[in-house]
C-alpha cells in the first residue's frame, strides 16, 4: 500500500538510478532519471540509497493521495506542490499522513520534479531495474507513465524523520535566465566535422525544440559543415554527410540527423546510422533534465578526465554527508 494516482500528470514515471544497465545487447537503453543529481538527493533526503526507485515528473506533475503515513521529498523543478492545499517545500523531507493529497502543478522553474518516498517504490524489477521504459513497455508501473486509479506500492520501512534538509552548495544550481552552458566531450565522430563547423558548434546558441523527450533532445541552430570523411566515403555509409554505417550510440551523444542535432537521452534508440560528433557527459545531464523548450544551450568543450572528475564530485554530493548538520543520523525514529 502506498499512494493512489488521482491524476497522472503529463509524464510521470517510476525511475531508478543508474537504470537498466547491461541490456544494450538486447536493444534496451538504460532509462533512469535525466536529472540524476536531483533524483539522488531526493532519495538521500528520505533516507534511501541514492538510486532507489522514485518518480520523475515532467512539466506537469501528478496528484497523489496517500493511503498510509509516509515520508517524502521533492527536488528539481518547482511545480508549486501542495499537501491538502498547503505549500510543500522543495529540497527537504516532509511527513504525509494517510488520506492527505499531494498535488503538483505545472513547472514554474525547471522542467522535472523528483518525488522520493522513504523505503522506495516497490514495483517488480525487470532486467534488474525498476526504471520505466515506455517504448519497451517494461519497468515501473505496467511499463508506462502513471495513470489515474493506479496504486504506487511502497516498501514498508519504519518512519523516517521529516524535515531533513541539505547543506548549502550540494544541490544543482538554479537555472539562470534560460541560457545553459552544457559541457561536451569531442567524439566519437568529431573528425567528420570541419574546423569551421566545430567552431560554429561551440560558439552558437542552440535552441531546445519542443519536440524533445526522454528519447532525445532536439536542437535548432546553424547548419553543420563537414570534412572529406563525411562527404567522400564508401557508398554503404549512406548518401548524406551525416550518414554512417550503423553503429552503437553512446547515451548523451549529440546525434546529427541530417542537419538536426539530437542529444540522445536515456530512452534512446541504441544504434543507428548517423554520426555523433560530440557527447554530453553524464555530469551535465541534470541541465538537460531541467531545461525547457526554447531555452538556449551553449556548449563548452571539456576533456574526458574533467568530465569524469565532475561526475565524481556530483556523486560525492549525493550522499548522507550532504544533509544539514545534526540530521545525518536522525533517519530512523
Amino acid at each position: 500500500m502506498g499512494f493512489t494516482v488521482i491524476k497522472g500528470g503529463l509524464e510521470t514515471t517510476v525511475q531508478d538510478y543508474p537504470g537498466r544497465k547491461g541490456a544494450f545487447g538486447m536493444g534496451f537503453p538504460p532509462s533512469g532519471p535525466i536529472d540524476h543529481w536531483s533524483f539522488r538527493l531526493a532519495n538521500v533526503l528520505v533516507g534511501n540509497p541514492p538510486g532507489a526507485a522514485a518518480l520523475e515528473c515532467a512539466f506537469i506533475g501528478p496528484v497523489l493521495r496517500a493511503d498510509r503515513d509516509a515520508v517524502i521529498a521533492l527536488t528539481g523543478a518547482d511545480m508549486k506542490a501542495t499537501l491538502d492545499g498547503a505549500p510543500v517545500p522543495l529540497w527537504e523531507s516532509i511527513a504525509v499522513h494517510a488520506g492527505q493529497t499531494l498535488a503538483l502543478g505545472s513547472a514554474v522553474t525547471g522542467a522535472r520534479t523528483y518525488i522520493a518516498f522513504a523505503g522506495g517504490i516497490e514495483v517488480a524489477p525487470f532486467l534488474e531495474s525498476r526504471a520505466t521504459f515506455v517504448i519497451g513497455a517494461c519497468g515501473g508501473l505496467e511499463g508506462a507513465a502513471l495513470k489515474e486509479g493506479q496504486s504506487i506500492p511502497l516498501r514498508d520501512v519504519g518512519a523516517t524523520a521529516p524535515s531533513r534538509r541539505l547543506r548549502d552548495g550540494v544541490r544543482p544550481p538554479s537555472p539562470a535566465g534560460g541560457v545553459w552552458e552544457i559541457e561536451v566531450v569531442a567524439g566519437p565522430n568529431d573528425d567528420w566535422i570541419d574546423e569551421a563547423g566545430k567552431r560554429r558548434f561551440l560558439t552558437s546558441d542552440w535552441r531546445l525544440s519542443s519536440k524533445s523527450n526522454r528519447v532525445g533532445f532536439r536542437l535548432d541552430g546553424p547548419d553543420w559543415t563537414f570534412t572529406a570523411k563525411a562527404t567522400d566515403k564508401a557508398p554503404e555509409n549512406g548518401e548524406h554527410p551525416s550518414n554512417v554505417i550503423d553503429h552503437g550510440y553512446p547515451i548523451g551523444a549529440i546525434n546529427l540527423c541530417g542537419q538536426t542535432p539530437i542529444i540522445l537521452m536515456v530512452d534512446t534508440l541504441t544504434l543507428g546510422g548517423f554520426i555523433n560528433p560530440y557527447t554530453v557527459p553524464t555530469c551535465a545531464w541534470w541541465k538537460l533534465g531541467q531545461s525547457r523548450p526554447n531555452e538556449i544551450y551553449r556548449f563548452r568543450e571539456v576533456t574526458v578526465a574533467a568530465a569524469q572528475a565532475e561526475r565524481r564530485r556530483i556523486a560525492t554530493l549525493c550522499t548522507e554527508d550532504s544533509l544539514a548538520p545534526g540530521e545525518q543520523d536522525g533517519g530512523r525514529a
Binding site: G187, G252, G272
Partner: protein, 289 residues
C-alpha cells in the same frame, strides 16, 4: 578498410567506441563480436556493457573503477588475444523464422506511404528489379535461400540487424527517403546490405518484403521461449527464413495468441570464421537461386 590498429574514440565520460575499420565487410563484425565475447569472458573490471555493430563496439565503463587509459590498455590486450579473424569461433544458434513474403499487411503499409508521403511501386517488386531478379517470387527464393548473420540486436528491443551469409543471396537497396512514419509490426525489411525485423510499430526506412507472425521479444514471458530470456536472438546468431502461405501464417499467429507457439532454435553449433570464409570463397556469387 580494416584499420591496422583499432581506434578508440571517446563517447563522453562513460563510453568508448572501439572501431576496427570503416566499411561493412563482415570480418569487422566478427572482430566486434569477438571482442564482445572476450570482454564477457574476461569480466574486465569496470566494464559495464557492450554495444557491437558492423565495424565497431561501444563499450560502457564505470570511470570510478577503471580509467580511460587503463580501459584502452585492457581492450588492446583482449583484441590481441583474439588473433587473426580467421581464428575466431563464435557461439551461434540458428533460428528458423516463418515469413509470409508479399503479405497483405506490409503491402498496405507501403501503399499508405505512397498515398500520403511519396509515390512508389511495391517494395518487393522494386527490390527485385534493382537487384536484377526476375520478379518478387525470385526475391523470396533468394532471400530465404541463405542464413542471415545477426550483426547486432539493437535500436529497439529484440530488433536483429542481419546480413546474408551466402554471397549468392546478397541483395542491396536504398532506404526510404523520407522515412516511413509507421511500420507493420513484424515486417521484414531490407535496406543497404541489411535485413531487419520490425519489433515496434515505429518509423522506418527499410523496404518491406514480408512479415513474420512471431514476436522477437516478450517482457511478460508469455511464450515458453521467453521464460528464461527477453529477446529471441543474440548477436552472432543466425536466422533462416521459412516461407509460409496465408493459412500457415494465420495458424502460427493463433498459436502465438494462445501462448503455445514453440520456436525452432538450434543451439549446438559454433561458427568458424575460417570454415565460413573458405566456403564463401568457393562459390560463384553471380549464381542466383
Amino acid at each position: 578498410m580494416i584499420f591496422d590498429e583499432p581506434r578508440f574514440l571517446p563517447g563522453g565520460d562513460t563510453f568508448v567506441l572501439v572501431q576496427f575499420g570503416d566499411d561493412a565487410r563482415i570480418d569487422l563484425n566478427f572482430m566486434a563480436l569477438g571482442l564482445t565475447a572476450a570482454l564477457r569472458e574476461d569480466r574486465t573490471k569496470g566494464v559495464i556493457d557492450t554495444n557491437p555493430s558492423y565495424n565497431s563496439v561501444v563499450v560502457e565503463y564505470d570511470p570510478d573503477l577503471i580509467g580511460a587509459d587503463d580501459l584502452e590498455r585492457e581492450l588492446r590486450r583482449l583484441i590481441e588475444g583474439l588473433g587473426p579473424v580467421e581464428d575466431l569461433e563464435l557461439e551461434s544458434r540458428l533460428a528458423y523464422l516463418p515469413v509470409m513474403y508479399r503479405d497483405p499487411w506490409t503491402k498496405a503499409c507501403v501503399e499508405d506511404y505512397a498515398e500520403r508521403i511519396a509515390p512508389r511501386e511495391g517494395d518487393p517488386e522494386f527490390v527485385a528489379r534493382i537487384n536484377g531478379l526476375e520478379d518478387a517470387a525470385q526475391l523470396a527464393r533468394v532471400h530465404s535461400g541463405t542464413e542471415h548473420w545477426v550483426v547486432a540486436v539493437c535500436s529497439t528491443p529484440g530488433l536483429p540487424l542481419m546480413v546474408a551469409l551466402d554471397p549468392r543471396c546478397a541483395i542491396t537497396s536504398p532506404k526510404y527517403n523520407p522515412p516511413r512514419t509507421w511500420t507493420t509490426l513484424g515486417a521484414i525489411g531490407v535496406g543497404g546490405l541489411s535485413t531487419s525485423i520490425y519489433t515496434t510499430p515505429g518509423p522506418g526506412g527499410y523496404n518491406l518484403i514480408g512479415r513474420t507472425p512471431v514476436p522477437l521479444w516478450d517482457t511478460q514471458a508469455r511464450l515458453p521461449a521467453y521464460r528464461d530470456r527477453v529477446v529471441l536472438l543474440d548477436a552472432a546468431d543466425r536466422v533462416k527464413f521459412v516461407p509460409v502461405e496465408r493459412e500457415e501464417f494465420d495458424y502460427i499467429e493463433s498459436r502465438v495468441a494462445d501462448g503455445t507457439y514453440t520456436f525452432n532454435v538450434t543451439g549446438y553449433q559454433r561458427f568458424s570464421v575460417r570454415a565460413y570464409k573458405a566456403w564463401a570463397a568457393s562459390l560463384d556469387a553471380s549464381e542466383r537461386f
